[in-house]
């Protein structure tokens, strides 16, 4: 998605968390978390419902202030960069969307171009081209003129991904990117982000509920236990039946087949 941005990469990691403490009220989700993500890396965040995955992700996205520590993207804090420059670096896929007003699919995806436009600027033919390519990438090429309020849950999810692709960030923060999607589109979307990491030197963080997909599509994993304890490491060593049983507080069984792995609740 990015043209010519690769050479300009700086030494600083795309995403860095230092001594990060995230809590809501009395409940802390992580304490003194250190995290660093370089271009091309993909990190999965796994944990139970309510363990604080989305909260942590929104702190990493600069939407919420941490209770301690700091978050840097390309070496700078969100405050130092300002909203607009931050938007050129990191993109965020929210978990839920409410559409208050009617709008077409094309107009909705064009919103992603906002940080690239001048204050008085209007979307150009080039922006439209980028957006159409993004819609095609998520299999929505023929949906341009459809009202978003008539889309199915999965179609709406893919439109949100297209909007994010149109934004062309280097750091993707994805909150349940494959929610509502059928199996085919789950794999297609995860392939899309894997490709962005591989070919466009993007870094990807995704909250997932399917450990097997994390094993297949991510090189690192962060397990969020919900009591302030977090563990991180390479996906292939972290994702074991034993660790996942402890994480989900339910006995799990790992089943390998054809080079893929599946985790089955016992």
């Amino acid at each position: 998605m990015r043209g010519g941005g690769a050479e300009m990469r700086t030494e600083a990691p795309l995403l860095e968390a230092r001594k990060l403490t995230v809590a809501i009220g009395q409940r802390s989700f992580c304490r003194d978390l250190d995290l660093s993500l370089q271009a091309g890396e993909r990190l999965a965040i796994l944990g139970c419902n309510g363990a604080g995955k989305s909260t942590l992700l929104s702190v990493l996205a600069g939407l919420r202030a941490p209770q301690g520590g700091e978050v840097r993207i390309q070496g700078a804090t969100y405050a130092e960069l300002g909203a607009r420059k931050s938007a050129l670096i990191r993109g965020w896929l929210p978990q839920s969307r409410g559409d208050a007003f009617a709008s077409t699919v094309l107009e909705t995806a064009l919103v992603g171009r906002h940080p690239h436009l001048e204050r008085w600027g209007w979307e150009s033919a080039k922006d439209a081209q980028i957006v159409r390519a993004a819609l095609a990438a998520v299999d929505l090429a023929d949906f341009e003129r459809r009202d978003i309020q008539t889309l199915s849950g999965g179609e709406r999810q893919r439109l949100a991904i297209a909007t994010l692709l149109a934004q062309e960030p280097q750091l993707f923060l994805l909150d349940e990117p494959i929610a509502y999607l059928d199996l085919k589109h789950q794999i297609a979307m995860l392939d899309l982000f894997a490709k962005a990491a591989r070919e466009n030197h993007a870094a990807v963080v995704m909250v997932l509920h399917e450990p097997a997909l994390a094993w297949r599509f991510c090189d690192r994993v962060l397990l969020v236990h919900g009591d302030g304890l977090t563990e991180s490491g390479p996906a292939k060593t972290m994702l074991t039946a034993e660790r996942l049983s402890a994480l989900y507080q339910y006995p799990m069984l790992a089943y390998e087949c054809d080079g893929q792995i599946s985790f089955i609740p016992r």
């Binding site: 938007a87 993109g91 965020w92 409410g98 919103v111 979307e123």
Partner: protein
């Protein structure tokens, strides 16, 4: 696909409509003045009764009406985005309620026109500060909380207005009711409201694309590069001032602020870069036409213009809604 060219074309057409509506307001009334004489009175400085009527009675009233209609429609459009609620209107946050209490009290104590305007403006500002202070409270600022605070303050003001109406002497009731339903007959100094309308459009337009994002959710807007908390405070302030200025000049004229942004949205889409100026032009034109009808239908008697804005706005709105449903959007 939104383009600048399409927006300019639509705005040019609406400017034409606005000029026509003002011309209509100058021609029609208890005495009918032909368009040629109207133009002579405006540009040639024609003397006589008709010249005087056009210049010092109808023109100020038409311009004040245009400005108030524009302000109300603009405030409605802004608040619908701020609250992400298509049902929001300029009065939903209690600003007109506060103005109403101020104005009715002023009428009750028998102060003059300037006193009524002053009191209603003070009431509007007081309501605005109360709602903002309470909703802002601990620093978190959700749409629901703002909306609920506004609705409750508005309900409180409504109760106070009802209380004053029930104890007011009979001969003052007529004036109070006209103020409450919206009335342009006292509007004689259009310069100030026109200035406010122009200033608010100038302030809002540079942020129009950011408002498009805000309409899609504040977190979404923030991650796409909008300084959300600053923008929301600004929108609240600007929309409140627009409402206060309009209500002070013309009383609480209903429906314009709710219906006009929807009309424009149905006809031209929800891009705030077009929606904001188009709402101002369409709201102004609608109020000028309604006011012209209000003072000419049963002339020399006058109807409250707020009744007519509703009578015109509701069928037009229902027609557009039905057309939209048939198109199957």
């Amino acid at each position: 696909m939104p383009t600048r060219r399409r927006a300019l074309l639509i705005l040019a057409a609406l400017t034409g409509v606005a000029l026509l509506s003002i011309l209509l307001a100058l021609v029609a009334g208890s005495i009918r003045i032909p368009p040629a004489e109207v133009l002579a009175a405006l540009f040639g400085g024609a003397d006589g009764v008709s010249g005087e009527v056009v210049r010092s009675l109808r023109l100020p009233r038409a311009l004040a009406g245009f400005a108030c209609g524009g302000l109300l429609a603009l405030a409605g459009a802004l608040l619908q985005v701020l609250l992400r609620n298509p049902l929001a209107d300029p009065y939903v946050l209690g600003i007109s309620g506060g103005a109403g209490v101020g104005a009715i009290l002023a009428i009750l104590f028998g102060v003059g026109v300037a006193g009524i305007s002053g009191a209603s403006f003070v009431g509007a500002l007081a309501a605005m500060l109360v709602v903002f202070g309470l909703a802002h409270g601990d620093g978190s600022w959700t749409q629901t909380r703002l909306l609920l605070t506004g609705v409750i303050v508005a309900a409180g003001c409504g109760a106070m207005v009802a209380l004053i109406l029930s104890i007011a002497p009979d001969h003052k009731l007529h004036g109070m009711l006209f103020w409450l339903m919206g009335d342009l007959s006292q509007a004689s100094s259009p310069g100030l409201v026109l200035g406010v309308l122009a200033a608010i459009l100038l302030v809002a337009m540079p942020f129009a694309r950011e408002l498009n994002l805000l309409a899609r959710g504040s977190d979404m807007a923030q991650t796409l590069g909008v300084q959300v908390s600053r923008l929301r405070k600004g929108v609240y302030l600007v929309a409140s001032l627009a409402t206060a200025a309009a209500v002070t000049q013309a009383g609480s004229i209903g429906f314009i602020g709710l219906i006009v942004p929807h009309l424009v949205r149905l006809a031209a889409g929800n891009d705030q870069r077009l929606l904001l100026p188009a709402s101002a032009l369409a709201g102004g034109s609608l109020l000028v036409i309604a006011d012209t009808l209000a003072r000419s239908v049963i002339a020399p008697q006058q109807l409250p213009v707020g009744v007519l804005t509703a009578l015109i706005g509701v069928p037009v709105f229902l027609f557009l809604l039905a057309r939209d449903a048939r198109r199957g959007r």
